[in-house]
């Protein structure tokens, strides 16, 4: 029969040439190797959180109405606002710091430089204020670390640009992953394949051969990129089968916890690298305290859920978590008991490679950022540097080991050498 086949090929005018190979084809071939970490999770408090009710407590100059300076609590090196009696659901600060304070790293006094949501969100997500072309950190790290992962970069909202370096995946309902995991079977039924295995193999072979031919043909940059991404998406998608065992039968009802479950399922299955999680409504122009006391606990509960479930799944040690917002809130209340936009804020980190129980940077008692010496990480009002998102992103790239990756080089942050944060992660 083999001889007959060769004869058939001859009749059809086919030669049995070795297929051409392309770098992207080789990348797609690696699809069977699960990605094992680290996993990057960025939590976004969209709308602008009130940092004085969490990691940068004040209690002076009427900045806060719910507590006084003397009420401020500590855990190790952390100082935080008390909110056990005011929190509406979720997780209060006291419990959060008790459970995670030892591994938490706080940076206070971040200068967002702008007062508007859209540029602020873009700046915080990418480290670049004045460009729409830059990828978010989550997208960049996914592109550098796991280009073969079918759901390398998962996003649930907020600014999510990819810079064209990776495909963005939105999975609004985790059950929908079940529907597509067995793509070569009718309705995902393992016992009902569309094609016999040998036919499916032939289809894949033909596609691979055709892709190699296209790759060897001169193309415009967009077309070349599109062809490669399409081929990789289809080839890598087979790995989605690995997600199925990790899709929980029952999802939590909390919105952030739902996102966490989807992200963890992709991580555990080795098909995801990063996730951009998001809840909104922090923009408390009216009734600041009421809103923040509902949202901050909800947010912290989501972070706690991530860490605990990751522990259950035995991937906690591989998590790198960034907790941020696109702006802070003013040090005074407006006439509607709200707080407006403030361009100074904070950011939290925890996870792999980050030394906890640390606080770097500060704001003064009027909530202005205190400049920082980027080498000693000590306050230096006279000669220090205003730490902005690009400084933090430069450090994040270093932490992730991607600062020298060609994708990262394509999107330089322009931080002068002397302003780079030294030993930021401890």
């Amino acid at each position: 029969m083999r001889r007959d086949f060769l004869k058939l090929c001859g009749l059809a005018g086919l030669g049995l040439a070795l297929p051409l190979r392309h770098p992207d084809t080789r990348a797609a071939d690696k699809k069977d190797e699960p990605y094992t970490g680290p996993y990057y999770v960025v939590f976004n408090a969209s709308g602008g959180w009130d940092t004085t009710y969490l990691m940068d407590p004040k209690g002076v100059h009427d900045i806060n109405r719910l507590y006084k300076h003397g009420d401020i609590l500590t855990h190790g090196n952390h100082a935080f606002a008390p909110n056990k009696k005011d929190a509406q659901g979720g997780m209060c600060n006291e419990d959060f710091y008790k459970e995670f304070g030892d591994e938490l790293f706080t940076f206070n006094g971040l200068d967002y430089s702008v007062n508007n949501h859209s540029p602020g969100a873009r700046y915080m997500a990418t480290g670049k204020l004045d460009s729409l072309a830059y990828p978010t950190f989550a997208a960049l790290v996914a592109a550098c670390r796991g280009p073969d992962c079918p759901l390398a970069y998962l996003t649930f909202g907020n600014y999510s640009a990819t810079g064209g370096v990776v495909a963005m995946a939105r999975v609004p309902y985790v059950q929908s992953l079940k529907k597509i995991a067995l793509a070569d079977n009718v309705e995902g039924n393992p016992k009902a394949a569309y094609h016999d295995p040998f036919a499916l193999n032939r289809i894949e072979e033909a596609l691979k051969e055709q892709h190699a031919v296209v790759a060897a043909t001169p193309q415009l940059p967009r077309a070349e990129r599109g062809e490669n991404m399409l081929y990789a998406a289809q080839a890598n998608s087979k790995a989605l089968q690995r997600v199925v065992p990790f899709i929980p039968d029952k999802l939590p009802k909390e919105r952030l916890n739902q996102q966490v479950e989807i992200a963890l399922a992709t991580f555990k299955a080795g098909v995801g690298v990063s996730a951009n999680l998001d809840i909104g409504q922090f923009d408390s122009h009216a009734n600041n305290d009421k809103d923040q006391m509902k949202l901050i606990p909800e947010f912290l509960a989501g972070i706690a859920h991530l860490m605990r479930r990751a522990g259950e799944l035995k991937i906690r040690e591989q998590l790198v978590v960034v907790v941020q917002s696109e702006m802070g809130r003013t040090p005074n209340y407006n006439q509607g008991n709200g707080k407006d936009h403030w361009s100074i804020g904070s950011i939290l980190f925890l996870g792999r490679g980050i030394k906890g129980n640390r606080v770097v940077g500060a704001t003064d008692d009027k909530q202005f950022a205190v400049p920082l010496d980027p080498v000693t990480l000590k306050a230096d009002k006279a000669k220090g540097t205003k730490i902005r998102p690009e400084h933090v992103h430069e450090a994040l790239r270093e932490l992730a080991g991607i600062a020298e990756h060609p994708h990262a080089k394509k999107f330089p942050l322009g931080v002068p050498e002397k302003e780079k944060l030294v030993k930021f992660w401890g």
Partner: protein, 772 residues
């Protein structure tokens, strides 16, 4: 500029390959002001304030925005700016150029330090000062005479493929025989007339509505449309008409209940559809597209008219008053509140009518972009600039040197702090024009004046330096619409929107990062595209703002037709120039469904709901941007689609008489490869037909492409013959029609039908099908 300098060297060493390749980054030899001073500094830094209506308008240093003047006056504007900048460049104080001192915040510069002394921008200005002091040579913009044509070395799509691309894109169908014949006869010259026909089809208007909703997102109103669009205060008695609608003729209670649900859903959908129906109405009737901001009417259906309480006066205008989605134009009366004495909620109107201003004044647009007590209509103003004048105010948001200190220092920073004023002087007057749509409380009211009058700690209502006359306040949005229609940026913005519709991506922004070695290449790419946009905008305006002209013009451009390079592009600069060239657009869920219908005769009908979202679709609410690159999840959906569609269509097509088959008109299902040369020939011809139909490729039956497909087909048949346990019939799941009906079984003794299914699956997974 590095590339420009290296280009000759590279050409020298690269030998024949590069000698044939297109030229590298176009070296700008004598265009210093236009390409350096203006493009990189003047337009980005100085113009922000030093323009009419800008924060620096009162200073002696005034500039003209070339984007705000007609095409013919752009060069004049540039010359004027060159002269103004040269004057301040050579003017000295303390022995130093005033310009160079002001930009770093010295000499009482209102805008403070806009540049650092060690920045590339500053160096450009320093060079400009040097040249200006030397007599001002080379200040006039002149094109680089040595620059090769931008599209040199880029092959264009052939006319038939262009035709297929256009009809699939605009009407979701393949070209007709007559259209193909016209293009065969007259080439690309036939395209405009063909498109004139295409753009009268309902499918085109469906696409138009869908595409413009991607821009305006008006169907993304939250909550039920009957309450979100029609305010309790003004439509209390009519907006819930469906709850009292007589359905008593439906005797079955459950059926009646279902009919009631459908009635409500159709009504809500009809309300949400109104803004895009307005766009359809304007384009369908060849009305000036400026009416999207000036139309003194809205479109209502028989259902939504009932909600407004105008059905009785309109019912004779509907062909079918029971059709929820047939729309007619109407002018509403000025809004009257439930409280007859309310000064705030009763609308002022000198005509007695609602002051319609196209989309701007529709409740859907106002509701989709609502205001809050603290936002003060600034979101609406921002969206207005983005949607109608192509200005992303927040993209331009300048870094504030110390935002927190500025906020604390001034009582009203948006009116006092130069770094805030730069945007707010433009934005806030437009926000003020929306001042009477000041409701954001319960019951989703939209219209209503603010008690105590509009904010005084904002710049007053107006537009680009012109104050709103008091007597026009009742019609403020009409006043804005009139000015918008005359603004040259409106035409270019609409041309940009159509580019987005056709390509799925926005036009290029001016490049940033002067130290980028590819800056010159990116700048040229931007400039070439800009010239094209402006050329089409000019024709658009000359046509009386007929939007169909814009579609026709774009389709014929090299930007839409570019297919591939004639030789490999190895030079980084040339690659950067061409980075955005070529369509290569992954089809949206809706487009993919339409393409499946066009090729196979029916839609897949599965790219809806969750699956559509997973495939990069939008909900117009929280997810508002379509995914442009396929993730693994999307790759899986592509595999499902290709498997499932092939499963549905192959045996079904073979069951039809040959003359009625779309896929296999000239081949029989039992024809095997390798049996005879004649059969092989027929099989290859059948495959070439599939390539044409599914991929739009005109492959010869003897081409390598078809040979590869043949190899797949033959291999599958051969593998099946070698396997011992293969069924002799097609899969149960791929039987046509009722799978369990007698006679539904599809015999396939030689596995040829399933091999054809493998072929169709293979073709459906290729980029030529999945991309546009």
């Amino acid at each position: 500029m590095l590339c420009a300098r290296l280009a000759p060297l590279l050409l020298f060493f690269a030998g024949p390959l590069f000698a044939q390749a297109p030229a590298t980054c176009a070296a700008v030899v004598d265009n210093f002001f236009a390409d350096e001073v203006w493009a990189k500094v003047g337009s980005q830094k100085c113009l922000t304030c030093h323009k009419k209506g800008g924060d620096g308008a009162d200073s002696k240093f005034g500039l003209v925005d070339p984007k705000k003047v007609d095409a013919a006056a752009k060069d004049d504007a540039l010359r004027q700016n060159a002269a103004a900048m040269a004057a301040i460049a050579v003017s000295k104080e303390n022995g130093k150029s005033r310009m160079l001192q002001k930009v770093v915040g010295e000499l009482d510069h209102g805008g403070k330090d806009v540049l650092r002394a060690d920045s590339p921008e500053y160096r450009i200005l320093a060079e400009f000062v040097r040249r200006s002091e030397g007599g001002g040579k080379a200040l006039q913009p002149t094109p680089d005479p040595k620059a090769p044509p931008f599209f040199q070395g880029v092959a264009m799509l052939d006319d038939q493929r262009l035709l297929r691309r256009a009809t699939l894109s605009l009407a979701g169908r393949l070209p007709t025989d007559a259209e193909r014949a016209a293009v065969t006869k007259n080439g690309i010259k036939a395209i405009p007339a063909v498109l004139d026909g295409v753009m009268t089809e309902d499918a085109f208007f469906e696409r138009l509505r869908e595409a413009f909703n991607d821009i305006f997102l008006t169907i993304g109103l939250t909550d039920n449309a009957d309450t979100a669009v029609l305010a309790y205060d003004h439509f209390e008695k009519t907006r819930l008409w469906y709850q009292k609608h007589d359905l008593s003729h439906i005797k079955d209670e459950k059926a009646r209940q279902q009919a009631g649900y459908k009635l409500a859903n159709d009504y809500r959908k009809a309300l949400l559809g109104e803004p895009m129906k307005l766009i359809e109405f304007i384009v369908r009737n060849n009305r000036p597209f400026t009416e999207i901001v000036t139309a003194d009417y809205i479109l209502v259906s028989a259902y939504s008219a009932r909600g407004y309480g105008v059905f009785d006066e309109l019912k004779d205008k509907f062909k079918n008053p029971d059709d929820p989605f047939e729309y007619v134009p109407v002018k509403l009366k000025a809004l009257r509140s439930r409280d007859k004495n309310s000064k705030e909620a009763n609308q002022d109107s000198l005509t007695g009518n609602y002051p319609h201003a196209g989309l701007l004044s529709t409740f859907q647009y106002l509701g989709r972009y609502p205001t809050t007590e603290t936002n003060r209509n600034r979101l609406r103003a921002r969206m207005y600039y983005q949607h109608f004048l192509g200005v992303d105010v927040l993209e331009l948001a300048a870094r504030v040197s110390d935002a927190a200190a500025t906020t604390a220092k001034y009582k009203v920073p948006t009116m006092e702090a130069a770094e805030c004023v730069v945007c707010h002087r433009t934005l806030d007057p437009v926000a003020g024009l929306f001042q009477d749509y000041w409701r954001f409380d319960a019951n989703f009211s939209i219209y209503g004046k603010r008690k105590g009058g509009w904010f005084t700690d904002m710049f007053g209502a107006g537009f680009e330096g012109e104050d709103l006359p008091k007597g026009d306040r009742w019609r403020a949005l009409q006043w804005l619409g009139e000015r918008t229609a005359k603004d040259p940026r409106f035409a270019t913005t609409m041309v940009e929107h159509v580019y987005y519709v056709l390509t799925g991506r926005k036009v290029l922004l001016p490049p940033k990062g002067l130290d980028d070695p590819l800056y010159a290449a990116r700048a040229r790419a931007y400039s070439e595209q800009r010239k094209q946009v402006e050329a089409i905008a000019s024709k658009f305006a000359s046509s009386g703002f007929n939007l169909k002209v814009v579609f026709k013009e774009w389709v014929q451009t090299d930007f839409y037709r570019a297919d591939g390079p004639t030789t490999a592009i190895k030079d980084a600069c040339r690659k950067a120039e061409l980075e955005d060239i070529g369509l290569t657009r992954m089809l949206s869920p809706e487009q993919l469904e339409r393409k499946i219908e066009a090729v196979f005769g029916e839609r897949w009908n599965k790219l809806q709901g969750d699956l559509a979202m997973l495939y990069g679709g939008i909900d117009s609410k929280e997810v508002t941007e379509r995914a442009s690159d396929p993730s693994g999840a999307m790759g899986a959906i592509q595999r499902i689609m290709s498997n499932d569609v092939a499963c549905k269509v192959v045996a079904t097509d073979f069951r039809k008489p040959p003359a009625e088959r779309r896929l296999f008109p000239d081949v029989e299902p039992d024809m095997r490869p390798g049996v005879s040369a004649n059969d092989n020939k027929k099989l290859r011809a059948a495959m070439a037909h599939l390539h044409q139909r599914i991929l739009g490729r005109n492959d010869d039956a003897e081409s390598a492409e078809v040979k590869r497909t043949f190899k797949l087909f033959a291999s599958v048949v051969n593998d099946a013959a070698e396997a011992k346990t293969v069924d002799k019939q097609e899969s149960y799941f791929c039987r046509p029609g009722n799978k369990d009906a007698p006679g539904s079984r599809v015999e396939d003794p030689h596995y040829t039908i399933r091999a054809w299914r493998a072929v169709v699956t293979y073709l459906l997974r290729r980029s030529e099908f999945l991309y546009e």
